[in-house]
C-alpha cells in the first residue's frame, strides 16, 4: 500500500495552508471586491460546465416541443392570435397616448421620455444556493450586458445583473436578502423601498410609518430613484398590512409581480442607451414623484 503523503507538507499543514488561502480569497473577494475583473474570466472558464448542466433540461424541452400534438398547437395558435388582437388594439391606443403624453410633457417643459434598447435573454440555470437568489442567463459581455443592468420579464422587474461573463451573466433576483429596490405606490406616489426577504414570493417594505396611505392590492412600480431601474415598471403588489401600534413601523408584505420561480424568457434593458438626455430626465422624474 502507498503510504499517505510521501511528499509535500503533512496533512494538518495542508489544511492550514488551504484554510489560510480560502480566508484570503474570502477577504479579498467580499471585503475588497478585488475579483471583479477576474470573475469574468473565471465565469467564462466554467461556462462549459454550466452548458453541460443545462443540457438535459434543454433536451427535455426540445423533445416536448417536438412531441406537442396538433391539437395543442392549434389551441396555442388560437390563444396567441386572440392575444395579439387584444394587444395590437391596446398598442394603437398606446401610440396615440404616447404622442399625447410627449406633447403634454413638452408643454410642461420636461424632457420627452426616451425609448430604450431592449434584448431578449433566456434562462440558462438556476442556482441551488439557498442563501442567495440568482439565475444565469445566456447573454454576456459580447451582447453589451453590463453590471447593474435592469432585467424584466413580461409581468414586471425581475432583478439586476450581478456578474457578467463573456457569453452568460448572473442575475440577482429582487427576492434576495441583499437586494432592495426603490418603488412608489402607483395610486398615490408614496415612495418606499422594497427589500428582498429570502423567499421567492415575498418582498418586504421596511420602515413604513403607520400613517402611510396604503391598501392591500396597491401596485408598487419602480420609482427610478437610484438610477439603476427605469421608472414606471411594476415591481410588486401589497398582500398584507399589519398595523400593530406596539411596533415602531407597520409590517407590510408584498408579492413580486414577476413570477420569480417560473422564469424562462427575460428582457434586458439599456436605460441610458438613447442619448445624453436620459440622465436629466431621470432626476426630473425623481423630483416630480
Amino acid at each position: 500500500m502507498n503510504t499517505i503523503f510521501t511528499r509535500g507538507p503533512s496533512l494538518p499543514n495542508r489544511l492550514a495552508l488551504a484554510l489560510a488561502l480560502s480566508a484570503l480569497l474570502l477577504f479579498v473577494d467580499h471585503k475588497l471586491d478585488g475579483f471583479q475583473s477576474t470573475r469574468v474570466y473565471l465565469n467564462s472558464l466554467v461556462s462549459p460546465l454550466q452548458y453541460l448542466a443545462d443540457l438535459p433540461g434543454k433536451l427535455l424541452n426540445l423533445s416536448a416541443e417536438r412531441l406537442a400534438s396538433q391539437q395543442q398547437l392549434i389551441e396555442e395558435n388560437a390563444r396567441l392570435t386572440s392575444q395579439i388582437m387584444l394587444m395590437s388594439e391596446q398598442l394603437q391606443r398606446f401610440s396615440v397616448l404616447q404622442q399625447e403624453n410627449d406633447r403634454l410633457r413638452k408643454l410642461l417643459g420636461s424632457p420627452v421620455q426616451p425609448g430604450m434598447r431592449k434584448m431578449i435573454a433566456e434562462l440558462m440555470a438556476v442556482d441551488n444556493n439557498p442563501f442567495s437568489h440568482q439565475i444565469v442567463i445566456n447573454k454576456g459581455a459580447l451582447d453589451g450586458v453590463y453590471e447593474g443592468q435592469p432585467v424584466l420579464d413580461d409581468q414586471g422587474i425581475v432583478g439586476q445583473i450581478m456578474q457578467v461573463g463573456t457569453t452568460n451573466s448572473r442575475v440577482l433576483l429582487l427576492s434576495d436578502v441583499t437586494h432592495a429596490i426603490p418603488v412608489r405606490i402607483a395610486r398615490n406616489n408614496v415612495r418606499l423601498i422594497a427589500s428582498g426577504s429570502g423567499r421567492l414570493d415575498e418582498l418586504l417594505l421596511q420602515h413604513v410609518p403607520h400613517s402611510t396611505d396604503m391598501q392591500v392590492g396597491d401596485l408598487l412600480v419602480s420609482s427610478g430613484l437610484g438610477n439603476v431601474f427605469p421608472q414606471g415598471y411594476p415591481v410588486a403588489k401589497i398582500t398584507a398590512i399589519v398595523r400593530d401600534e406596539g411596533r415602531p413601523f407597520a409590517q407590510v408584505s408584498t408579492k413580486p409581480m414577476a413570477n420569480l420561480d417560473r422564469i424562462r424568457y427575460l428582457l434586458l434593458l439599456w436605460p441610458n442607451d438613447s442619448g445624453a438626455e436620459s440622465a436629466p430626465e431621470q432626476t426630473s422624474v425623481g423630483g416630480g414623484s
Binding site: 440555470a125 442556482d127 444556493n129 442563501f131 436578502v177
Partner: protein
Amino acid sequence: MRLRPFAIPLSIMTALVLQIMPMPAIADIYRPDWVLLVLAYWTMALPNRVNVGVAFLSGVLLDVLLGTSLGIHSIGLCIVIYVLAANYQRLRNYSVWQQAVIIGLLSALYHLILFWLQHLLTDVYFQFDYLLPVVSSTIIWPWLFWLLRKVRRQLRLS
C-alpha cells in the same frame, strides 16, 4: 486503459455538473452534496491522491459556479475532507451504513460551516430547509460508494 488518469477528475467534474443542474423547486431542496460525497469517497479510498488540496480546488470551482464569495465552499470542503483524510483507516473498516451515518454528520457540519460563513458576511437567517441535503446525502452514500468502488476496481486505480 486510457481512461485511468482521468477517472478522478471526471468524477469530480460530473459531481460539479450534478450540483448546478437546474431542478424543480421541490426536488431542489433535497439535492445531495454530490461534490462532497465524491471527494469523500476518493479521500477514503485513495488518500494519497485526493485530499485537502483537491478539496480546496473543487471548493473554489463550486464558489465560482454558485456565485458565492470565493472561499466559502472551499473552507467547508477542506475541513470535512481533512477530518476524513485524518481518519481514513478507521472509516474504511466501518460497514457502509455506519459510513453513511458518519457522512451524514460531516455533511451537516459542512452545511453549518457554509451557513455560519454566509451569516457572517450577509444577513441570512437559518431555515431548517438548509439541512435537508444531509438526509439525501446519507441515503445516497451507499449507492455512490458501490458505484465508485466499481469504477475504482475496474480501472485498478491506486
